[in-house]
Subunit: 343 residues, 2 copies
């Protein structure tokens, strides 16, 4: 019977197990290993894996496909421990949130005849551990497939098949691009969320602030409740990209702060309205991703022009409303007076 | 029959109407006015008001309690239009997101014998207009009650009763404090959300970023889909507080950026872990707000010490895990070999 081995049975590893079992492959056994025996037993109890392996080496020895779902920083040691036991032709993948380091470790530590293809399912939640796992965690979510330049085509297909089996939408991306884009779309939002909570929490007015907090504050600080271990590993393996995108984020905030402070009310309105229009468009009709390997296109100038136009006409309408409402009201009053006189 | 008049029948005004009707006061009629006749008709159709008033002046003339739920910038003109028609003893309140300007306008424009008490229900959503209104929008939400220093006690009770009638939890706050705290807990998160979306959307890699976006990005940019008119009005009536809190937010981001960039992995981990522990505590046991008028207490040093301690011991655990896992694995391997030899 073919065996799929999952190393690390936390939220992601256990959810992979549940999703694979839901896919009901005949003749496939799912074995798991976690360095914490309690976590391993819980994963068996929740049905995330069929059984536990005695050790990570045994798991490597038995499996035709290995999914490494440990914390990022532990991936290196896991590769080193598995290496002597992996058989030729075994496919190894991972689920880590940063990819450049993982690909480097794979190329340094795994045997030549073992096929590694990086993976990153874009799914998660604040709760951790196998008890938080869900068979549907990856459904409809993007799943980054990150092959090394010399990756074996059959192994790439296998990992793509794995992504599809758990209900995700696989797409190819280069490791350097992945880490840069993940910083922008996922890791900077995490820092933004942590900073928003710290801002309020560290204020001496915190009891008042907490009393006034609405759903917006709660939603925007949600990511600050995620695992600090995971955040630590992400940041320490993606420093250059974090610096770049954090600086861009701060520049964007300074631009908005200056617009809010400034005297050009129209420019401030247009900047906010443009973003609002663009986000609605994104929700209704997400942009088509260019083919993998194609050069990144600049944002089409016709589109920018369109958004600017839309925001501008919204402002015109608003300015008219603001200035005309007094006139209208007085006209309306006059008209009403006329109507009354006629009655 | 006593009449409650609602000026402005958008999301908040219409939700107030629905919530008041749900409260089923005997002998109370709810009348409404919106400068957009279509919005007014829709509010009647959805049952948010019993009928439309012919004009804002008529509404002022008829009502014992007036709720002004127009955009902030329109509140001034609405007060001016209502002033000549309001009867002595009428209670006027509003629902605007900033309060210092509104209280100033009330004191300048409303007659002395009309009782104004500011209000701000901390509830909302991205959708606008009476079609998005909900009778339960305010249920369990904080509702700021902002009386002027010379406010009439009976009027204050009436507005407090209104907040309770719509299911909200009223609490008193001074206008200056309200605007400062709302900037920190509500308006800076809005800018943070707009900036996060703009950061990704303005990148030439936007199609890739959009393809990789998970639920975190969607949740954190949700506020960017709110009404740009409302955002404009909030920012332009709360500039000083926005500057102050935006600068503090940027300082917080720079602190985190430096920790991420720096060499002290433990300090970075502790900073994130401390926020995570504090947020869990906030969700489980929100801080008790001090009595209104009491001096704001500094965050108790015993608490800070507690969080620091917790984050520190988490790190010790993590550091041990990271360094010991290799040793453990080799010990485990030796033990296994011994077991095998015995078999």
């Amino acid at each position: 019977m073919a065996k799929i081995g999952i190393v690390g049975l936390g939220l992601i590893g256990a959810s992979m197990g549940l999703a694979l079992k839901k896919a009901k492959f005949a003749e496939v056994q799912i074995i798991g290993y976690d360095r914490d025996p309690e976590v391993g037993q819980r994963a068996v109890k929740f049905g995330a894996v069929d059984r536990e392996a005695f050790s990570v080496e045994d798991l490597a020895d038995e499996s035709a496909l290995v999914i490494v779902a440990t914390p990022i920083i532990t991936v290196e040691k896991t590769f080193a421990a598995m290496a002597p036991k992996l058989h030729a032709g075994t496919v190894v993948t991972d689920t880590a949130s940063t990819k450049a380091n993982v690909l480097r470790w794979a190329s340094e530590l795994l045997p030549r005849d073992v096929y590694f293809v990086g993976g990153h399912p874009m799914a998660g939640k604040e709760q951790t551990g196998p008890q938080a796992a869900e068979a549907t965690l990856f459904e409809g979510r993007p799943y980054c497939i990150v092959p090394a330049v010399d990756a074996h085509p059959g192994a790439v297909s296998a990992v793509m098949g794995l992504a599809e089996a758990v209900g995700a939408a696989p797409f190819f991306i280069d490791a350097q691009e992945h880490d840069a884009y993940a910083a922008a779309i996922s890791h900077v939002p995490l820092v933004a969320s942590v900073a928003l909570f710290a801002l309020a929490r560290n204020s001496s007015a915190w009891p008042e602030l907490a009393a006034m907090a609405g759903t917006g504050f709660r939603d925007l600080t949600r990511l600050a409740s995620g695992s600090p271990e995971m955040a630590h590993d992400i940041f320490s393996t993606n420093r250059d990209n974090m610096r770049h995108w954090m600086d861009r984020y701060i520049t964007e905030l300074l631009r908005l702060r200056d617009l809010i402070e400034g005297d050009d009310s129209q420019a401030m309105f247009r900047a906010i309205a443009e973003v609002q229009i663009q986000r609605e468009e994104y929700l209704e009709k997400p942009p088509q991703r260019p083919l993998a390997g194609a050069d990144m296109p600049e944002v089409p100038s016709t589109q920018s022009a369109f958004f600017s136009l839309m925001a501008g006409s919204l402002w015109t309408e608003r300015a008219r409303e603001l200035t005309e409402s007094v006139e209208n009201r007085s006209k309306e009053r006059q008209q009403r007076e006329r109507l009354r006189r006629r009655e």
